[in-house]
Amino acid sequence: MALSLQDVEKIARLSRLHLTEEEKTQTLQELNDIFSMVEKMQSVDTDGIEPMAHPHEAALRLRADEVTETDCAAAYQAVAPEVRNRLYIVPQVIEE
């Protein structure tokens, strides 16, 4: 199965990655090469095999529903691109 340029554009959009026209063409070639290698998987009969998502398949631990963290907002927001009044600033998305 070969990807088309439209597929690459769709994947880039879903990935939130802006690609130039040149990058799209190069990516198309690279992804097609990689997926031809990946296609080898299809030759293996995996019927009846349980998927393995995690090496130990342990259940996630739960903890008591108690507040344990202190207020670290100032430290964490010190590395943010733009902050005002303890809020992260992004372009407006809600109409006034």
Binding site: L31, M41, I49, V79
Partner: protein, 482 residues
Amino acid sequence: MTPYTLKQAAELLQSKKISAVELATEYLNAIDVRNPAINGYITLDKELTLAEAQAADERIAQGNASALTGVPIAYKDIFCQQNWRSACSSKMLDNFVSPYTATVVQNLLNEGMVTLGRTNMDEFAMGSTNETSFYGATKNPWNLDNVPGGSSGGSAAVVAARLAPAALGSDTGGSIRQPASHCGITGIKPTYGTVSRFGMVAYASSFDQAGPMAQTAEDCALLLNAMASFDPKDSTSLEREQEDYTRDLNRPLTGLKIGLPKEYFGSGNSADVQTALQNTINLLKAQGAELVDVSLPQTELSIPAYYVLASAEASTNLSRYDGVRYGHRAAQFGDLEEMYSNTRAEGFGSEVKRRIMIGTYVLSHGYYDAYYLKAQKLRRMVANDFQTAFAQCDLILAPTAPTAAPKLGELNNDPVQAYLSDIYTIAVNLAGLPALTLPAGFSAEKMPIGVQLIGNYFSEAKILGAAHQIQQHSDWHTHAPE
């Protein structure tokens, strides 16, 4: 007086033949001289290093030092440490000074170890040559025209060049073992879940595991003792009793059953790698180990399975880099959507973008079953293969890489070829097993070659013991680049 191993450094400090400040200063001076050519360190802060060393000296003077107090260590740039830039070698995090410390780093700080700096790596740990770093490639100290391997290539290079007695790396698809092999040092990836991932920048969460890189297996065991701990902050951290990973170091190899997987000993290995394997087999036999033939039939398919699963996890993990809370933000954008897309296009390098897109595709509607689910089933088959093999042997001997370190640029334009170079390391990560690389010879071009010892879950002490015994009866690990 710069020591050769971590253990020697610890002994010099304990006998007060050198202070922690003097030792750190010696390393910092050596780094000033040699690092510009190697580019192994990308962030240094002498004030912070010397402050940690001063605190270690005070602890030693007060008589409450541990065995590792005052010993310097380097950290792969993937580990967050408060007040240090932790950029994961990416433009995306170039300005990120961490407000918190990774548990594994904190464990070593609690021992009083002294931070020398952050080491270069493939961007977000994606790569096999260390050439995808935003800060430029690291050079192999054995030959500056060669790569050190990836993605912990900076850590491997600084240990090999004796610019640190030890370093931390991380291993998602072989990223501790392959650079250790290419640089002639020892490195171990522990059983998944043994070492906390909290504060380690996430690439593929069901694979990523931190581990020590040093000159000897003994040094790795000492470090692993300090690193490994249950961590409630990491939901995949395993609750187990604290182990002593040095406990088998003096156990002879007599009677140990070593499996030789036929799929790993084929014609794909260079003649130099075959010789290194034979060297090790001869030594193991001479020391009384028993060699048995085993089979790992899904080895070849572990590469496609890994790249589907790791890329899928990468695409979700790296969705957090949106220019909102930390890291790079594009200067030019119209709306929110464009801010995300431009930020990520500018902040990520080409290999990272490639893997994000592979991951996005295999997780997208209509392709999940054919790729992601299929790869998870293959992962199970790979893990089952190992269990069949371990019914017949204690440890598995395998090459770490098919060749010695390639030249810089050799794999740059062919991602598939680069991915295939990880053929001998990836299956271990799919299964979550522990494995160690140790030096086993040199190529005709005088480049180091390593071999792997793979063990069953939680057999780190056994692996380290066998590796230590090999190092007691060989000198491959004692050679240093000029």
